[in-house]
Symmetry: C2
C-alpha cells in the first residue's frame, strides 16, 4: 500500500471518530496527504514505514501549528521539527496530525474523551495520543510524562504506553514543564510496536527488538497506596502476577515502604519548582490566558524557597537510589498503573499517584493493558525498572504480554 | 538614571565597538529602547535593575530573532521568551541585544573577535556574550556550556564566567545540543554580579549573595593534561594558589589521574551521540546549510552504537562520582580554565580540553580573570565544585577575588 493510501484510510478513520473523541489539536488532510506523497516520492523506507503517527501538541512540528494546549500559543508555527519528530519522519513514519495535550501538559483537560466511553476521561496529559491509538486512528503516538502523563492515559484507554529511562529521547524542540522529570515516550497497540517506536525516536537499535527472557523474574509491589486503589485494579494485578507465575516466571512479593511517600512528595516539589520557572514567560506576560487551576498552581509554587527544592533533590538521590537498588535484581517490578478505571471526564484527567515516584526515579515504565473493569473500561498493570534497564524491561513486558494471550 | 538613559548609553558604547568586535547577532536600537521604556513605564524594579544584558542567540526571545548562529534559522522569530530571559526581564534587567553564538553552540565560529586583540578569538561558543561584557557593552550576558563554552570564552576575554550545577537554570526555550550536558550560566565583570545574575535566572535567592568563607580550603589540581598547557597559565595557577595560601586559605595539592582521560572521552561520546539527535531536523532537511565541519562531525557521530553511548554514561556514573567525592571536602578545586591565552581567530575558538570533564560531572565551574599573558591577553584560573555546591563555590570565588586585589 502506498503511504498516500495509508494516509487516506487513516484520515477517514480519524474523521469518523473525531466529533466524538476530539483527539486532535490539528488535523489537516492537505498537510497529511502532502507528507504522505513526499514519503512516496522520496521512497523513504524505514522501521516506521506503514505506521501513522500522532504527535502530542507540545512537540514542535515544522508543518503544523504547535499550541501546547494553551490559547497563549494558539496557531504558533514552529520553523522546525522537534528531534523526535524528525526521527519519526526519517524512519518512514507518517505524521498524521497533532494530538490534544492538556494545557502545557499539566492537569487542565483538553476536549478529548475516552474512546471506550465518551463520558469518561482518556487521562492526561497525553490525552489525544492515547485516545487515537486506542480508537485505531493512528497506530503510534508520542507522549511525555512528568508525573503520570503516559502511563495513566495508556491505562485509561487500554493501550501500551512506554516511558523509557529519563533522557533516552532528545527533548530538542519539546515544550518543557519540569526539566528533570519530563520524559518522552510513546503509545502503541502492543509491546513490540512500542519498543520499535521508542527505539526509533531514541536512535537506539538495541531497543527496537528487545530479546525476551526465558523465565523472567518479577517483583510484585502494589505500593503503600494500594489501599486507596479500586479493588478491580488490585485484583487484576494479582491475577496477572499469578498468570505470570503459572507461565513460568518467578514472582516475589515486596514488602516495606521504600520511601514511597517522601519520594512522592519530592516529585511534587520538584515539579512545582521547575514548572513555575519553565513557564516564566507565560506567567509574566499572559497570566490572564492561563487556566485558573494552572495559574493558581504556579502562584502557589512561586514562593517556594531553595532549601525545599534542594531537599527534594536530595530525597531523590538517597531514597530514589535505594529503591532503584531494590529493583535491580528483577526484570521488572509489577505494580498498579492507575487507581482504577478512567473517571468521568467531568472530574478531570485522573490521579497520577501511582506514576509520580517512577518518573522521579528515572527508570523505564510501561503500561500493559490486560483486562476490563466493572464499568467496561480498560485496566492493566505497570512494569517498572531502574534507570537504563529499558531493554530488559521491554523483554519482560513482551514476555508477559505473550503469556497473557 | 532611567532605564531609557541606560539603554542609550549602552547602545552608544556597543555601536562604537561593533564594527570591530561583531559581538551581536541582533542589535536593534528600536527594540532595546522600547524595552527600556517599558521597564520605566511599568516601574519594574528588581535585582537586575541598572544592568544591561546580552542574550546568547540560542535563547528564544519574543522581541528579537533567534538564529542559533545558523543560516537555517536566520530571521526566525520565536513567539515567547526562554525561561531565563523571562526571569531577567522580571528582575528589571534590560535585554540589550542578541549576542553571537557559534553555529548551534558547537565549534564553527561566528564573526566575533576578542576585544583585547581583534586578531584573536573570543573563544566559543558564547563568543559575543564574553566579548561584549569584556568590552563594557553589556554588564551581563547569558551563556551555555556543553564542553567549555562559558569558561573558555570568559578566560580568553578576561571576564568572570559562571556555569552553575547542571539543571540549575531552566532550559525552557533554549536550543539544545547535548541534553545531559547543556548548562545555562552567565558572564559578568566580577563574582558578585555573576552570582546575582545566575541566582536571578535560576530563581535561587540563596545564590544571589553567597557568604564568603573565612579561611577557604582549596584543592590545587592542574590535571594530567597540564603538560600540554602553555607555561603562562601554569605559572598563573601557581601564583594564584600561593597568593590564596598567603591570604589565609588552605591549599592542598592533589595528585593522581582521577579518571581524567576516560572522563574526557566519555564527554566527547555523550556530546556526539546527543548532538546528532538534537539536530536531527537540521541534518535531515538542511544538510547543505550546515557548515562543513559541523556536518562532518554529525556524520561521523551518526553510526555510533548504543553500547558506546551507554558505556560513556556508565563512566560518568562511576568515575565521575569518584572525582566528585574527591572534591567534596574542599570549597573549590583550583585548576586551569584554558590551555593558554586566546589563539588567533584564524585557528578557531580554542580547545575546551580543560572544561569537558567538569561539564560532564555536573558541578559548578567559574572562571576568575587574574592576570595577563605574554601576548597581553587575559589569563586566570578555574574554580570547580561538586554538583549542588554552588553557594560554597561562589563564596570561595568571591574570597579569592578579594584576596587577589
Amino acid at each position: 500500500m502506498s503511504t498516500l493510501m495509508l494516509a487516506k484510510t487513516a484520515l477517514d478513520r480519524i474523521t469518523q471518530d473525531e466529533s466524538r473523541l476530539h483527539a486532535y489539536a490539528c488535523l489537516d488532510p492537505d498537510i497529511a496527504l502532502a507528507e504522505a506523497q513526499r514519503l512516496d516520492r522520496t521512497g523513504t523506507h524505514g522501521p516506521l514505514s506503514g505506521h501513522t503517527v500522532a504527535i502530542k501538541d507540545i512537540f514542535d512540528t515544522g508543518d503544523m501549528p504547535t499550541a501546547c494546549g494553551s490559547p497563549i500559543h494558539a496557531g504558533r508555527r514552529p520553523t522546525r521539527d522537534a528531534a523526535a519528530v524528525a526521527a519519526i519522519r526519517a524512519a518512514g513514519g507518517l505524521v498524521i496530525g497533532k494530538s490534544v495535550t492538556t494545557e502545557f501538559a499539566h492537569l487542565t483537560p483538553g476536549p478529548t474523551r475516552n474512546p471506550r466511553n465518551t463520558a469518561h476521561t482518556p487521562g492526561g496529559s497525553s490525552s489525544g495520543s492515547a485516545a487515537t491509538v486506542a480508537a485505531g486512528g493512528a497506530s503510534l503516538a508520542t507522549g511525555t510524562q512528568t508525573a503520570g502523563s503516559i502511563i495513566r492515559p495508556a491505562a485509561f484507554c487500554g493501550v501500551v504506553g512506554y516511558k523509557p529511562s529519563f533522557a533516552t529521547i532528545s527533548r530538542s524542540g519539546l515544550s518543557l514543564f519540569a526539566e528533570t522529570l519530563d520524559t518522552i515516550g510513546g503509545f502503541a497497540k502492543n509491546v513490540a510496536d512500542a519498543a520499535l517506536f521508542v527505539g526509533v525516536m531514541a536512535g537506539r537499535a538495541d531497543l527496537m527488538q528487545p530479546p525476551m527472557p526465558r523465565t523472567p523474574r518479577f517483583a510484585l509491589w502494589p505500593t503503600p497506596d494500594a489501599t486507596s486503589a479500586d479493588p478491580c485494579v488490585l485484583a487484576e494485578l494479582e491475577r496477572v502476577a499469578q498468570a505470570a507465575a503459572a507461565a513460568g516466571a518467578t514472582v516475589e512479593t515486596l514488602t516495606g515502604d521504600h520511601g514511597w511517600h517522601p519520594l512522592m512528595a519530592a516529585q511534587k516539589t520538584i515539579m512545582a519548582w521547575e514548572g513555575v520557572r519553565a513557564l516564566a514567560h507565560e506567567r509574566r506576560v499572559h497570566p490572564d490566558l492561563l487556566s485558573d487551576p494552572l495559574r493558581a498552581y504556579l502562584d502557589a509554587a512561586a514562593p517556594m524557597d531553595a532549601a525545599t527544592y534542594l531537599a527534594a533533590l536530595d530525597t531523590r538521590q538517597t531514597l530514589g537510589a535505594a529503591l532503584n537498588a531494590v529493583m535491580a535484581p528483577f526484570d521488572a517490578l509489577l505494580t498498579l498503573s492507575a487507581p482504577g478505571e478512567a473517571p468521568l471526564a467531568s472530574t478531570g484527567t485522573g490521579d497520577p499517584q501511582f506514576n509520580r515516584v517512577w518518573t522521579l526515579l528515572g527508570g523505564p515504565a510501561l503500561h500493559l493493558p490486560t483486562g476490563t473493569g466493572p464499568l467496561g473500561l480498560p485496566i492493566g498493570v505497570q512494569l517498572v525498572g531502574g534507570p537504563g534497564s529499558d531493554q530488559r524491561l521491554l523483554g519482560a513486558a513482551a514476555w508477559l504480554e505473550a503469556a497473557l494471550t
